[in-house]
Every structure is written in structure tokens, then in C-alpha cells.
Symmetry: C2
Subunit: 367 residues, 2 copies
């Protein structure tokens, strides 16, 4: 069967009341769907994306070669089977792929918001999605699935819209962002802010795309470290040296250095620095227990099945952070939960790369 990839944008004129007390108004949400919605609308699976992800999860656009970011996971006969499920993924507010973010035109003067954009939280991202689904006349979904920041959204859905999903599958994430992850974000934010081409947010995005923002490249390099692990880097790069470079040249490069440089600078061509600042801020302030006396009190609101997947060598969100959620649920005697710690040396990126290690688990969980 065909993937039936469709991309749409919805425009909202009602104010979005944010956690901060501020308002976003108006706003757009771009989203993509795969598969077919069944008659009783009981086959919807929501996918939530990570920091630099987008609504483009699966399939390949005409004329392009790069598939969506979870293409191996979503499609006909895949873990999230589009022959069976109607999959929706929307770009979070604050991002830069079509939903309203800091470089979107501000009403009414149509100049980009830049720093005037309000801080959005994971809870706000989820609220905006909930409003999108209302617009689409989808009032309950079969499952919400996400990794990393996508997992944060899935868990936030479970707590704030307890009757919205039957099943929640959250992987490679946490219940509250810990200082280790905040520290990596800090390196990136500082590198962006201190790049003179950033111009306090008054950069020209077209010029930046051409020449790259080295501050964001540096930040992304730090990010790549946090996505991998000591072991996966050793496996992938070893101490291989670029053949053209002399070992005693100050700027001679190991393969791992070339890798970081390439990916760091390439990133600046497809991601916006202000969106990076805003989304890392959303990740930093993410804490499921905010507004409750404790994590346990927050988790008490859950009525959906909760399935937690962690990765043994995830250095960004350590496996014990997921375990802490599972443990609290056990203490609460909440039966409808499972916890799966995946054996992996790959690091945080395992949820994007080592699909074979958890796709069966997800497939069964969705049944």
C-alpha cells in the first residue's frame, strides 16, 4: 500500500494561552499524515518529534533523496504500520519548519518576532497539538509515540490530557530535564549568542543559510557528542586520521573531527538559531511535576497505558530517569505500564538508529 503522505497547514486565529501567561496569536501548525483514517477514527497514532526534528517523519518528498527522520519505523508493515494506522506528526510551535516560531511574522506588522517570541514549554507544544486535533475532529487517539523531546510531549499528553490517548509510548526521555542535558544546551546557546553574525537575533536568515553560523555549528558539535557514546564513537571512528592530513599539523584532523565539522556546519543550513534557543529552553524547563506537589502527584492523573523505553548507554537522558517514572508508577500500583531498558551501546541516538532492538516491542504495544 502507498504511504499516502500528505502535508497540510492549519491556521489558528484564537489566542493560544501559554504556560508563561503570555499569548501566541495567531499561529500556524504544519503537519503530515500517513495512511488512512478509518471510519470510526480509532486508528490514529500521533508521533511527536525531537529538538531538531520536523513533521516530516516518513517517506521521501518528490525530487529529494532523504527520507523522513523515522522512515525505518513508520510505513507499510513497519513498527508503526501505515496500512493499519493513520499517523499524524506536527511541527512543534517554536520550531522552524512551518509552524509558528521566533522567525515567523508577528501580527500585525509582519516583522519576525525574534526575541519578542514568547518562551514556549513542552506543555504549550502539546496544547497546540491538542487544538490542532480538535480542528481535525480527532478527539481521542489510539497512541502517542515519541523519543527524546518527542517522549516529553507524549508524557505531557498523558498527564494533561489523560483521556486523549489509549496508549503512550515514550522513549529516550525523562520526567524532568537534568543538569547534564541542560549543560549541553548551554554550550550551544552560548556559542550561538556570542557569534557576531547572530546579531542579537537580528540576523538575515538567508545570509546565515549560505555562510553558516559557526556558533550554531559549535553547539551542534557538542550536541552530537551528547547523542552518541564513548563506545559508539570508538566503534564508528576509532583513531582514524584523515589521510591527507599530517599527524603533526595543528589543524590535521581525526575522522571524528571531520564528522563533527561536517555535521555541525551542515546543520546551520537547515535549522534556525532562534528556534534552537527557544526549543532548548523548552527542553530545559520541562518538568512533569511542575504544578504538582511531586512527580508522583503528576503521574496520578494518568489513565492511559504507559510504555517506557530507555537505552542503556543513553548519556543525554540516562536510563534511570525513565526507570524513576516506572518506579513511581509501581509505587502508585498503576498496572497499565511497562518499562523496557534496551541493551545498546549506541547512546541517545539509538532511538533513531537501532530500531530493530525495540520495533517488535512497539508493534506489540500498539496492538
Amino acid at each position: 500500500m502507498s504511504l499516502n503522505l500528505q502535508t497540510h497547514t492549519e491556521h489558528f486565529t484564537n489566542p493560544l494561552y501559554l504556560e508563561s501567561g503570555r499569548i501566541l496569536e495567531p499561529y500556524d501548525i504544519i503537519y503530515e499524515t500517513y495512511g488512512e483514517l478509518n471510519e470510526d477514527k480509532s486508528n490514529v497514532v500521533v508521533v511527536c518529534h525531537a529538538l531538531t526534528g520536523s513533521h516530516h517523519v516518513a517517506g521521501t518528498y518528490e525530487g529529494e533523496t532523504k527520507a523522513g527522520w523515522w522512515d525505518g519505523f513508520i510505513g507499510s508493515k513497519k513498527a508503526i504500520d501505515t496500512d493499519k494506522y493513520f499517523v499524524i506528526c506536527s511541527n512543534v510551535i517554536g520550531s522552524c519548519f512551518g509552524s509558528t516560531g521566533p522567525m515567523s511574522p508577528q501580527h500585525p506588522h509582519q516583522e519576525p518576532y525574534r526575541y519578542k517570541f514568547p518562551v514556549v514549554s513542552i506543555k504549550d507544544m502539546v496544547k497546540a497539538q491538542r487544538i490542532l486535533f480538535d480542528r481535525l475532529n480527532i478527539h481521542r487517539v489510539h497512541a502517542i509515540v515519541g523519543g527524546s523531546m518527542g517522549g516529553m510531549q507524549a508524557l505531557q499528553f498523558a498527564i494533561h490530557y489523560p483521556n486523549f490517548a489509549n496508549k503512550i509510548i515514550a522513549m529516550a526521555t525523562t520526567h524532568a530535564t537534568q543538569p547534564w542535558a541542560i549543560a549541553f544546551n548551554k554550550v550551544a546557546q552560548e556559542a550561538i549568542l556570542k557569534d557576531p553574525e547572530f546579531k542579537q537575533g537580528y540576523y538575515d536568515p538567508e545570509i546565515l543559510k549560505e555562510q553558516g553560523l559557526s556558533g550554531m555549528a559549535v553547539g551542534r558539535m557538542a550536541g552530537h557528542i551528547s547523542f552518541l557514546s564513548h563506545e559508539s564513537m570508538r566503534e564508528k571512528f576509532g583513531r582514524e586520521y584523515k589521510l591527507t592530513d599530517g599527524l603533526y599539523e595543528l589543524f590535521g584532523k581525526f575522522q571524528v573531527e571531520s564528522y563533527l565539522e561536517y555535521n555541525g556546519y551542515n546543520f546551520t543550513k537547515w535549522f534556525d538559531p532562534l528556534a534552537y534557543l527557544y526549543i532548548t529552553k523548552a527542553i530545559n524547563i520541562y518538568d512533569l511535576s511542575r504544578g504538582f506537589d511531586s512527580l508522583k502527584e503528576a503521574l496520578k492523573r494518568i489513565t492511559a497505558e504507559i510504555h517506557l523505553i530507555s537505552f542503556k548507554n543513553d548519556l543525554l537522558f540516562k536510563n534511570f530517569e525513565m526507570k524513576e517514572i516506572a518506579d513511581e508508577l509501581s509505587v502508585l500500583n498503576y498496572k497499565k505500564h511497562s518499562y523496557f531498558d534496551v541493551e545498546s551501546d549506541y547512546g541517545h541516538d539509538a532511538f533513531l538508529v537501532e530500531l530493530d532492538k525495540f520495533e517488535d516491542y512497539v508493534k506489540e504495544t500498539l496492538l
Copy 2:
């Protein structure tokens, strides 16, 4: 007894032949001593410093409040007891505390070398120290002790000057720098190079010291992440927020962010960016097996006692890297070695901080 702290500089006019084939000539080495040299010169303990360390290991200079970097470890009745041992630590070549480095005047025109400074290796650093000891009429020492890059030097001594020391104590280090550590160095190097105030190495050091080099601050922030661990950061900072900052302010700060900012920018006041580039390069190219068919072949040269200390949660140099050395020594049936994996959640910095966990081990080893 008094610490008997003494600081001296030796000037060398003979060429130092470097691993790269290049020559350093002339050069200075600054060093510090503690305790008293005994009559038969059998009580010398050499301490080797890490990336941003210096010859100032112990004691406090007149008019200052900050003690040397291993002051808790070295002194009267301490792990390295200066009542008993004559301790020497010299600043490595390539550094910026008095030994010749990239900002030293180049002979004969006396302009700073900057990029004309040759790449030096850990082996070169050790060779220069060996020449210093010759000058001091010290031809054999009781022990060589070091952590991190200091441990690299200790091991390099063991292989290249096998008859020079009775005992080698290397901690929180490796036999060859792995891509994870190289990646952290890369982030720092790139951040420095792309800072416009760096001016391709033609910065004015006095101006930099005043205003700080934000690229080096960013790099140091990344460094601090690698020195700590997820657990130690969680213990130290939790999710504490700066009281004066609002949670929804884009630039509101978590404590961990303030910590990184303070230490990052403070670092730019006391360390030189070119020295940072050169020393991280030396660390990156460090590989005990270079020039040998394998690590095993290199280790075959050792005749001293070798004592290896790793830290369970060291993320920069993983404990198994030290274990790999110990395992090779066992395969070689080399009896004079020990390996101690210290229980610690602290991360790499444990060798500077959690002294109580290994000071007895070092004390006994030195006997």
C-alpha cells in the same frame, strides 16, 4: 615541617628534537619543588600536570588565597608526603605558565610564535622534562605520578625512559586518546578558532585577559561537562533555578548554567587560547603504541612498577581504557603492576576532588 616551596626556571639553548621532526630552540622550563632532596637523591617524586594545570601543585603563594591544584594531595603527612619526598612538577612545553609555548618570543626576533610554534606531543613534553632533570643532576627518580594528561606523561615516561623511575602511578587517563575525548576538544578548538577576537592567533593577550574570549569560554563549558558526570551534576545542581530569574525568561538561568558561565568566562582570564589549541592537539595525538606494532609491544619496554587508577564514572577517559593497559600487562605476565578502579560517581574530576578514595593506595604504593 614547612612545604619548602621553591619556583625556578631553567633555560636551554640546545635544540629540543621533537617527534614531528621539528626543533624547539631555545626553550625555558619553569618548575616547582617541595620538600628536601635527600643525600643520595633517592626521594624524588615527579608530578605531571593536566591540560590546564601548571607547575604550581601545592602550597599557596604569598598574597594569594588559592592553593596549588593538588594541594590536598601533596604536603606534610599527605598522600605524597613532602616530609619524606622531594616533589618536582614542571610546566609542560606548549603551556602558558612560564615554560616555552606558542605565545613565547621566538628566537631571534622575539615576536610570539603563535601558529609558528611546532606541534608538541606528550612524548615531547616528557623528553623536555627528562632534559630538565639531567640539568638538575637527577638521573633516576622514585616515582612519577599524574592524572589525566599527567597520567599520559607518566605512562610515556615508563615506555620511553624505562630506567628512569622506580614507580609509575597513572590515574584517570588512557593509553591512547579516544574519539569521545577528541570530540570534546574539537568543540573547544572550533569555538576558539571561530571567535573573531582570536584573530587567527594574532590576538593581544592583555586585551583578551580583560574582556575574555567567549569562544574559549564556550569550549571550557564543554570541557566542564566532560570533567563531571550526569550523577555529580544532578547532586551538585539539581534543577535549581537562579532566584532572580523567571522560569519563562528566555535568558533565565538554572544553577548549572550559571556555574558553566562563571567557570567558562573566568577561565579566559588565566589561560591562553593558543596554548589550549596546542595542548589539546598533544592530547589528541597521544597514543602509547605509536612507533610500535601494538600497545603490547610498547608496554614490553616497561621495567618500572606500574600502578593504574581509574574512576568508575569517568566519562572523559573511561575506566576500561585503564583496564585495557592492565589486561595487556597481565597477558605479558608482567608482575609489577596493579590496577585500582575507584568507586566514584564524580566523573573525571574525581582525581582532583575525591582524594580520600585513593590517597591511601597512593601512599602505600609509594613505600
